[in-house]
Amino acid sequence: MTSEAIKARLRELCSRRAPDLADEDDIFEVGGVNSLFAIELLTFVEEGFRIRLEDEDLDRKFFRSINAMAALVERKLDAQG
């Protein structure tokens, strides 16, 4: 899966909560995000890309923006081979 394809899927989910979110925007700083959004993001990343997040992946910096999540997904997909 290309980096752009990963970002496109992440944008689709994020746009439901924060319609004007740019790839580099801090998701947790913009409006429209509630406390359940973090779980939604985790679930979407794990199931949407068929990757397993480890304890050390549960860090704000990996979920801060579409760019950050895309980098996390790419790293996990590469590790899975």
């Binding site: 746009s15 406390s35 779980i39 985790l42 679930t43 199931e47 050390e56 549960l58 704000r60 979920f63």
Partner: protein, 387 residues
């Protein structure tokens, strides 16, 4: 067999119903009257395999799928909502440890929670902060290898007897929130019972005062850098699902009682259930319970498939089921007449318990705000095309 369940789920449903109806329901009025459930009785639920049932077997749980987990709460909710509440809050703590706690905390706590050796309570709400998590004042300050927790928590279900508290607090005055496991005998923790509730009287609420309560850094759940709201959101996501199913059980109990009373009580020469205005109420009750149950089943299916839509599905199920339980319990009181407002029968307690459901694990108004947000994203986008 229920058409929505597979054979394993049906077997479990029968097991849960047999246990709850024989071991819990007969004592529900006593728990309500005494505003307490004996600690030994609650810990015994673990020994019999009814605590932290969603936890995988490698940590001592039964590894129940989401639907079976819901069925357990339905049957406990039918028998006694106060006892069901223990399952819910205890399991919310187990859920956070399971999902976010890391291997060390999982191995330390989950087997003890599943076996009932320790009872757990979830400490989120504060005197000045309920749904508004941003107003949370409880602070965890670093002190060498420890944290010092300072603040107050209120309306903590089973706080009177819990051995372990999952306390949500800020790291520093303006920092992000995190979860901390606080044992009952921790220095600086004072527990004060809260009495006089309208419903769920057996849920043994307490207020917690934390005054420089010292806990080790190892007691923090997950890292300090977890995404905002993850601890509270993880706990509430399970709690809302459990409460929704509990509401279905409570309301179904109201329907059963109403049909029984309606067939026994005679007015104007015929049984109550032959009067069309009573039939109207009974019909609405049947339909309402079934609708709520289908929403719970849908939420369960979404959880089992790890679909991100499970968040929205759970909110909708809890919102509808809690309001439904109020309507159905109210009609049950009406059908029972004077008996409905007396403690001689179960519906007076069921009515009081139902009233609490639109408040706990997020008020119905909070659920509405979030559901409206999801609805806007879905329907707003769909409606943006040309017409």
């Amino acid at each position: 067999m229920d058409a929505w369940l597979d054979s394993r789920q049906s077997e479990l449903q029968s097991e849960f119903r047999a246990f709850a109806s024989s071991q819990i329901a007969p004592r529900a009025a006593e728990f309500d009257r005494q505003e307490a459930i004996p600690s030994g009785f609650l810990k015994g639920l673990g020994k019999q395999g009814y605590l932290a049932t969603h936890v995988p077997s490698e940590y001592g749980g039964r590894g129940l799928d989401a639907t079976s987990y819901g069925l357990l709460h339905e049957e406990f909710g039918r028998a006694c909502s106060s006892t069901r509440t223990l399952l819910t809050v205890h399991d919310m703590v187990a859920e956070v440890i399971l999902r976010l706690g890391g291997q060390r905390l999982r191995e330390t706590w989950l087997p003890a929670l599943a076996a009932g050796h320790r009872l757990a309570a979830f400490a989120l709400t504060e005197p000045e902060a309920g749904s508004d998590a941003g107003a949370m004042r409880t602070v965890a300050s670093r002190a060498g290898d420890d944290y010092l927790l300072t603040g107050s928590k209120r309306w903590i279900s089973f706080g009177q007897i819990a051995d372990l508290f999952l306390v949500v607090a800020r790291i520093g005055e303006d920092g992000p929130t995190a979860g901390f496991l606080v044992e009952r005998d921790s220095p600086g923790l004072t527990i004060t019972p809260m009495k006089g509730l309208l419903g769920l009287r057996g849920s043994m609420l307490a207020e917690l005062d934390l005054d420089n309560c010292r806990i080790s850094r190892d007691s923090r759940v997950g890292s300090e850098e977890m995404p905002a709201g993850l601890v509270a959101g993880t706990a509430l996501h399970l709690g809302r699902y459990a409460v929704a199913w509990g509401c279905v059980g409570l309301a179904d109990r109201c329907v059963e009682a109403s049909f029984r009373y309606g067939s026994e009580r005679k007015q104007f020469g015929v049984s109550l259930d032959e009067h069309q205005l009573i039939q109207r109420m009974l019909a609405n009750m049947v339909v309402e319970v079934r609708a709520a149950r289908l929403l719970c089943l849908e939420a369960g299916r979404l959880r089992e498939t790890r679909d991100a839509a499970a968040i929205e599905g759970t909110l909708i199920a809890k919102y509808f089921a809690a309001r439904m339980a109020n309507r159905v319990a109210s009609d049950a009181v009406q059908i029972h007449g004077a008996e409905g407002v007396s403690s001689v029968g179960p519906v007076e307690r069921l009515f009081r318990d139902a009233r609490v459901m639109t408040i706990i694990e997020g008020s119905s108004q909070i659920q509405q705000i979030m559901i409206a947000g999801y609805g806007k994203a879905e329907h707003g986008a769909r409606g943006s095309g040309s017409e």
